[in-house]
C-alpha cells in the first residue's frame, strides 16, 4: 500500500513537471479536457499540431513503459451503459466547467485560482457522492 503512495508521489511530480514545461516553454495550461475539447469542437484548431503532439506524448510514453510492468489491470467496468453514461458526463461536464483534474486541479490550484479551487472541491465532492450513490445505494459499480 505504502509503495503505491510513493509511486503516486513520483508520478505526481512527473505530471507537474509536464505542466511546468507546457506553461513555461509553450505558454499553455496543461488541461487535458481543454486540449482534447478544442480539437473536438474546432475552437482550438489553430494550435492543432501542438495539441496533437501533446496527446501523442500522453499515449506513447505509457506504451514505452508498459513492457517493464508486463500487465496492468485498470479494473475498468465492463458495463457499457455505465461507461457511456460516465463518458458523456465527463465530456459535457469538463467542457461546460472549462476544465478537469489537470486544468483546474494540477494547474489551477497552485496558481491560487479561485475557479480552480472551487471546481476541484465541487468535482471531488460530486465524485464522492457519485461513488456512494452508484456503488453503495444503486449497486451499479
Amino acid at each position: 500500500m505504502e509503495m503505491d503512495w510513493i509511486w503516486g508521489l513520483i508520478g505526481g511530480l512527473l505530471i507537474g513537471t509536464g505542466g511546468a514545461v507546457y506553461l513555461l516553454a509553450n505558454g499553455r495550461i496543461m488541461g487535458a479536457s481543454g486540449i482534447i475539447g478544442g480539437l473536438v469542437d474546432g475552437t482550438g484548431l489553430a494550435q492543432k499540431w501542438e495539441r496533437l503532439a501533446f496527446l501523442a506524448g500522453v499515449v506513447v510514453l505509457p506504451i514505452l513503459i508498459y513492457p517493464y510492468y508486463g500487465h496492468v489491470d485498470t479494473h475498468v467496468s465492463d458495463n457499457w451503459a455505465v461507461l457511456i453514461a460516465a463518458g458523456l458526463l465527463v465530456g459535457v461536464g469538463t467542457r461546460v466547467a472549462n476544465g478537469c483534474t489537470s486544468g483546474h486541479g494540477v494547474c489551477g490550484i497552485p496558481r491560487l485560482s479561485l475557479r480552480g479551487i472551487a471546481a476541484t472541491m465541487v468535482y471531488i465532492l460530486a465524485g464522492g457522492v457519485g461513488v456512494v450513490l452508484f456503488r453503495h445505494i444503486l449497486g451499479v459499480i
Partner: protein, 144 residues
Amino acid sequence: MRNLFAFIAGGLFGAGLFVSGMTDTSKVQGWLDVFGAWDPTLAFVMGGAMIPMFIAWRLRERRSAPVLGGTFPPTPPQKLDRGLIGGSVMFGMGWGLAGLCPGPSVASLSYGGTGHWVFFAAMIAGMAITPNLRRLLNKAPATA
C-alpha cells in the same frame, strides 16, 4: 520546436499518470469512496503534481513571455458561475461512475482494453455535443 516540447510535456504527463496508478479506475474510485476501503494514493499524486506547478507559476511571474515565444495564458476572471459549478458536478459524477477523467482516459488507451475506448468515445461525443447543448440552454428562456 513547439510540437517537440508539447510532446515532451505530454510524455511526462502520460508517464506520470501511468506510474502513479491513476489509470487504475479502482484507485480513483477508492479515493472517492470514503465509506469503503479508502485509498489515499490520489492525494499523493495531486500533491506531488502541485509542487512543480507551484514553482512554475512563480517562475512565470519573472518572465514576460514563454521560452518558445507567444504569450502566457491570460488571467481568467476570478468569478464563479453556474457553468463552472454545474459542469464540475456533472464531471465529478462521471468521474466517480467510471473512475476515469480525460487525462488518464487518453493515457490508458493503448493497454486498458475495450472499456477504455467505449468511455473515450462517449467522452469525445459529450465534448462534441456541448456547443449544441449550450445553444439549446441559452435559447430555452426565450421560448419559455
